[in-house]
């Protein structure tokens, strides 16, 4: 089991248990995390599952996948160097303790 912490723009944080192999998006949906809409269900079509990966975790979550940057560029909230689509981050054991920040709605 892997723990992931989602932090809202107002600082409220929620730590949930994730299943290895799921995406961070799926984990957020399963736990009803505010701010992750995931309209396209993870097909990289909508940029509504945008997060900012905590600075301490950017190495562990890795590089953006092909096409992800173009989608992030069009997300509602500003794109930062730590921006990722949560549908493109796969939960692995190495991500136990992961912290992601949610953008302003």
């Amino acid at each position: 089991m892997v723990a992931i912490t989602f932090i809202q723009p107002d600082g409220a944080s929620q730590t949930v248990t994730a299943t290895v192999g799921d995406s961070v998006m799926q984990t957020a949906l399963n736990n009803n995390i505010d701010g992750i809409f995931a309209e396209c269900g993870g097909a990289m079509m909508c940029a509504t599952c945008h997060c900012y990966v905590d600075d301490a975790w950017t190495d562990a979550t890795g590089e953006r996948v092909d096409g992800e940057e173009d989608m992030l560029d069009c997300a509602e909230a500003e794109m930062r160097p730590t921006s990722r689509l949560t549908c493109q981050i796969k939960v692995t054991d190495a991500l136990d303790g992961l912290v992601v920040h949610l953008p302003e709605a």
Partner: protein
């Protein structure tokens, strides 16, 4: 208080239930679905699911979500009748009263009266997709009837698994309802390059256990046949209840039917298009979800601005992701851009943008189309 009853537990029905809660609705919410199991996503059925077979990845939310959100989920249950005078939905011996009813009945596959049609498989539900996956295992030759999104997505997966694939389309080009002739041609060339046989302008006249025959007399041999010839909206419940129906359950720009206590959404609803002023019916996740959100808001907070969401569509075929922003009418002109993208135009107004593997242009188009003024040819070309 009877609360809200939703008939149809697909993407739109699910979204309506979820959005009612996120908008702060506190009354009872009942979601009725004919298929068994948790509400799930359909788009992956013709894409990733066919390859992975991973059913767990399809559920829109886990069972616990419905409990914590206090949404009553009744699946494997068919709604037989709506009694509008008494505001109840009748399912067998059970009656479910409603203050407001949302029809999210979706579509069903079109099965034309072709001799031997029983030999052809469908791809609409999870059960269909599971059956098709199993059938794909033991066969070498695959025949697909219909060259739309579903037929072509399936063809691309079957071809990538090494099957011999033939697609027969009755219309003179692929995806004729959805894209420009230029884009149809690009995709025909792509599939042919993959080794798929594409037959155009030749409808199926007879099907049997080992293939099908086309109107030209041509024979296609296949051990597995998929029928992907389009869908019909499920309007019978509404029609029998006396609601207006016109290629879908007729709704106004607030997505209300001719009965103010009943809304309709998604694939089964025929609604006024804010841009073209035509009545349209869309078969897409986007429309289902956006309709659902408007209806939930309206139920909780009262009437809002007319529905005006920008339609968008996508289709994954092999390593090509086709994306369409907006909605063109058949008569709209087409301009092919240097990268192969196509913009559709009505006069100077861009009505749709068709791109392949170009998320940037797709998203830019969606954003600009959502603006207060229509996107012109000039504003499409302007730098971001």
């Amino acid at each position: 208080m009877s609360g809200v009853v939703i008939i149809g537990a697909g993407q739109g029905g699910f979204q309506a239930a979820a959005s009612l809660r996120s908008e702060g609705y506190s009354g009872p919410v009942l979601l009725i679905g004919e298929e068994a199991g948790l509400p799930y996503q359909r788009p992956p059925l013709s894409k990733t699911y066919l390859k992975s077979g991973d059913e767990g990845a399809l559920a829109l939310r886990p069972a616990a979500f419905y409990e914590t959100q206090n949404i009553t989920l009744r699946t494997g249950l068919r709604a037989d009748r709506i009694d509008r005078a008494r505001q109840v939905v009748v399912c067998g011996d059970t009656e479910f009263p409603y203050d407001h009813l949302i029809l999210a009945t979706g579509t069903r596959n079109l099965r034309p009266p072709i001799p031997g049609i029983e030999h052809a498989l469908d791809l609409r539900t999870l059960a269909d997709a599971a059956r098709l996956r199993g059938a794909l295992d033991g066969v070498q030759r695959v025949g697909v009837i219909g060259g739309g999104f579903i037929g072509l997505e399936f063809a691309a997966v079957a071809r990538s698994l090494g099957r011999e694939v033939t697609v027969a389309e009755a219309a003179p080009r692929l995806m004729a309802r959805a894209v420009s002739p230029a884009m149809s041609e690009r995709f025909a060339a792509k599939h042919r390059e993959m080794g798929t046989e594409i037959i155009l302008g030749d409808g199926v006249t007879a099907i049997d256990a080992v293939g099908f025959t086309l109107s030209s007399g041509r024979r296609v041999n296949a051990d597995l046949i998929l029928l992907a010839a389009g869908v019909r909206p499920n309007t019978e419940l509404a029609w029998e209840a006396g609601l207006e129906v016109a290629n879908g359950i007729l709704v106004n720009d607030q997505l209300l039917t001719s009965d103010p206590a009943i809304s309709a959404l998604g694939d089964c609803a025929s609604f006024p298009d804010h841009r073209s002023h035509h009545l349209i019916r869309l078969e897409s996740v986007q429309a289902a979800a956006d309709h659902a959100r408007l209806i939930a808001k309206r139920i909780v907070h009262g009437p809002s601005a007319p529905y005006h969401a920008v339609p968008w569509f996508w289709s994954d075929q092999a390593d090509w992701k086709l994306q369409i922003a907006g909605l063109a009418r058949p008569e709209d002109s087409a301009e092919i851009l240097p990268d192969g993208s196509v913009i559709r135009l009505k006069g100077d107004i861009v009505t749709a943008v068709e791109t392949v593997n170009n998320a940037k242009v797709h998203m830019m188009a969606r954003k600009r189309m959502a603006g207060a003024t229509p996107m012109t040819r000039e504003s499409f070309a302007a730098p971001v």
